[in-house]
Symmetry: C3
Amino acid sequence: MSNVKQYTEVLDKLHFENMYDNDFFLTWEKTPEELQAVFAVADALRHLRENNISTRVFDSGLGISLFRDNSTRTRFSFASACNLLGLEVQDLEEGKSQIAHGETVRETANMISFMADVIGIRDDMYIGKGNTYMREVSRSVRTGHADGVLEQSPTLVNLQCDIDHPTQTMADALHLIHEFGGIENLRGKKIAMTWAYSPSYGKPLSVPQGVIALMTRLGMNVTLAHPEGYEVMDDVIEVAKKNAEEQGCTFTITNSMEEAFRDADVVYPKSWAPYVAMEKRTELYGNGDFYGIKELEKQLLAQNAEHKDWECTEDMMRLTKNGSALYLHCLPADITDVSCEAGEVAASVFDRYRDPLYKQASYKPYIIAAMIFLAKVKNPQKTLLAMEEAAAPRWKRD
Amino acid sequence: MSNVKQYTEVLDKLHFENMYDNDFFLTWEKTPEELQAVFAVADALRHLRENNISTRVFDSGLGISLFRDNSTRTRFSFASACNLLGLEVQDLEEGKSQIAHGETVRETANMISFMADVIGIRDDMYIGKGNTYMREVSRSVRTGHADGVLEQSPTLVNLQCDIDHPTQTMADALHLIHEFGGIENLRGKKIAMTWAYSPSYGKPLSVPQGVIALMTRLGMNVTLAHPEGYEVMDDVIEVAKKNAEEQGCTFTITNSMEEAFRDADVVYPKSWAPYVAMEKRTELYGNGDFYGIKELEKQLLAQNAEHKDWECTEDMMRLTKNGSALYLHCLPADITDVSCEAGEVAASVFDRYRDPLYKQASYKPYIIAAMIFLAKVKNPQKTLLAMEEAAAPRWKRD
Amino acid sequence: MSNVKQYTEVLDKLHFENMYDNDFFLTWEKTPEELQAVFAVADALRHLRENNISTRVFDSGLGISLFRDNSTRTRFSFASACNLLGLEVQDLEEGKSQIAHGETVRETANMISFMADVIGIRDDMYIGKGNTYMREVSRSVRTGHADGVLEQSPTLVNLQCDIDHPTQTMADALHLIHEFGGIENLRGKKIAMTWAYSPSYGKPLSVPQGVIALMTRLGMNVTLAHPEGYEVMDDVIEVAKKNAEEQGCTFTITNSMEEAFRDADVVYPKSWAPYVAMEKRTELYGNGDFYGIKELEKQLLAQNAEHKDWECTEDMMRLTKNGSALYLHCLPADITDVSCEAGEVAASVFDRYRDPLYKQASYKPYIIAAMIFLAKVKNPQKTLLAMEEAAAPRWKRD
């Protein structure tokens, strides 16, 4: 028995009109009510699907994806979200396409968007580039729509950039909301966003940055921990500080993993590259200095190796609230003795949390679908209730 | 408020019965009324989509695409057209598939077509090959259908071959029809299809060939201009001459860009490779003579470089009718000081025409959809009116 | 005029309840009635499609495909089957994805399956690996579903493994059923599954293995013929022997192609690699011994070359029942003087059977669709009859 009213009644109390016909770049550009609307719609869509009710908003239309890195999870999450709403995914692969041949962003953006309702981009490799590129694509297609080139205006969804990873952190947050029994229960809980050792190099900063910016927003006491030299972007630190002040929670930075873990309700130990190193790499890359990049890589791996003790072990877990903090990871994790000799997390810890980790990931398709839904549907409550009323089966299984 | 009758009434006056269950290879194999039917259906489909009315003809079915070159625009146009009509695109990538392992065309064509309603092919690299290959694929699947192998008979759409680029030129023509306020207004207008300098090598001939063959068909006065040595296929020249005679318009060939631009209503300056060079390359390629190909490439780049003055500059534009001819390009263009040091067009000219250029491109998905529609729907007027009547929303936005 | 009752009445007499929410790994794990149910549903789906009746079971949902080899036919067959039932195909390409970066099977399987209704895998290269991998994927997603990670439980379809190729052999069998006018008419017919010479190396064993195991099951007298040294898996030999005993038919192994062809009703001459060589290759590959692999390849090609006389010539065909046995091949075949100098089959033989060969292949999409249908639809008869009753057109052609 479906009852989608529980979600539409939440939506009734929220203001989120500005999300219609809008993009999703950074969580901190959205109001708290807008973020809550995403959570409510994600839950509603999942609820309808679990009750075998079709949630198609589109009879036809394309969802364009552009991945500048390899990606399984985000690729499938985006494809799932588009499919759930009735959009067919069309990948823009730079290898295959002429985008590599010097086309301007504006032109390509329009050329692929004649029937695009949404564009999802992952571009997280170079500092100052990814988010900038997404905004340029968005501006281009909005201009195209205004000029009568595009019949509809595609919505841009940030599938990970150099600054934020909103579809990941919103899925993380929705997982926490379900684990702690409501968004209000996150308030005052301690989350440790900590660096952890990995034998690989150059992992993006978007997850730790996105986490500290979003979780302070939800009133959590956030501790960011990393070895010296692994600082994240200053701008995002400022966002987290400001959020903490506004929300009456705390935001702490420390160089001690122990301090972060102590009494934490939630831990998120994960490797990343130092911001300054990523900036340097961007510069080297810009100059085509591939020798320099190789040197930088060696140096970073050596730097990482000095901090092998930053591992989420059983001993570390014992420091947390009742020794049983919820362990988060965006996956895949570097698991000691499983995927590498020494990594981010001990195998026994990872194994114990496998189930909740998979559930954490399972929210991402719904979060993406909710972001698209709120950008494409003028009256989400009416539409969700109409879907429930119509009760068109997603799958004729009987 | 939709009123699709304006388009079906045009169709009522045209004969295009032979398009049903047929292919689209070359514009000059179609009657003028058949070409007009494509324009009318393309406009009708766009009109319906702009009024948020679903134009799905298919509940399921595949649109197969085979691109022998990199392609962004045509790939997305084909995907958009298929999606608009309800077909899912499935790419036949030669890298991925066993087609490279010596299979015969006939066999592969059938093996991929068990549920294919349309096959779109781009194969423009080698003289005498692309169009021939398409016809072989078409023959193969028609035989397969006749023999009971294929339940349905897939339609072949030429997405660019060595001879013609009908989805491009038909989109170009529909753009002109809209810019000049009706197909009848093209009659007697002067269009300059001219070569232009590009620092790149081996651009296909299908666009200039397709343009001179189609625009003479529509009664335009066509001037083809290029440096000596950049001749196009003789066969297509003959087609253009014959068309001009039949339509009472002119077809002129000149080695002067100025002469072509003078008093032109429309200019289409674009680089291409000499036909004889492309023939030679095909031969070298056939012999596996990669050294020869490299030598030819050098030679062609040197030959191009002698004609850097063939650029669509502001001075050139001033020669055109009232200094304000409509500038066309199939995109991407080589823009001087933007995408290259010296190219086909001055940045200021290109910038001024960016909007109409994007609009020109925007017709391609609808042209492809119209070609498929006319091959797949027995009574287009009835079907279009029924779509309007049903008014199933493409996108439940409210 | 459609009458799907002819198929549902067959289904009424069969027990196949265990196929619901189940996988398809090996034909010999299914009961004879379950195999018959697949044939009946495949025919029913084809019948409905030929009568232009939509057979969509899904309004949205994904079909995930994972191909560890190049593949045109199976790729398109799977895509066609999914599309026929309303699922969108999403390829998991290991090159593109992070699966290559050391993720565990369990994790990836869940991460791609949040909205997957079916997963099709082809993994036939390494002995002891392919089938094992598929079962691991299936176990992973079933656990994921049980643990609340996945809302639905994806069905796994074996698109070819190291042991069996059930979608191929079931399509082969359905072809025979139609050629011989009923499944009961296969009983007592002689089929020769014989090795044939190919200039290529390392062809999988799954087809001969699958054929001897399935055709004995259907009561055919099966002769497996190959040169000494080209033995197939012992386990499957045992399956075929046991089937023959149970069905009262014969299963014979010989080193004489002539003996196999003599009086055969059906011949299936096809190259494969020796099982022991494939085992060795798997070991070499496991050790990363690429030099060893190269050596093995040379050795196998030399071994093959000793048996160039194993060719399906006109003389060989004259040995068969009335000189006109039905010739089968899974395609593509190595055709002497066409695709190679000396191959599996003479060009004149192949040409004469081109039509039936293409028809043989045409059953595969329907077999795959039927496997999915029986795993996803609780009451197939009711659903098929309801589809006929609704008569929603697949294609609005009129």
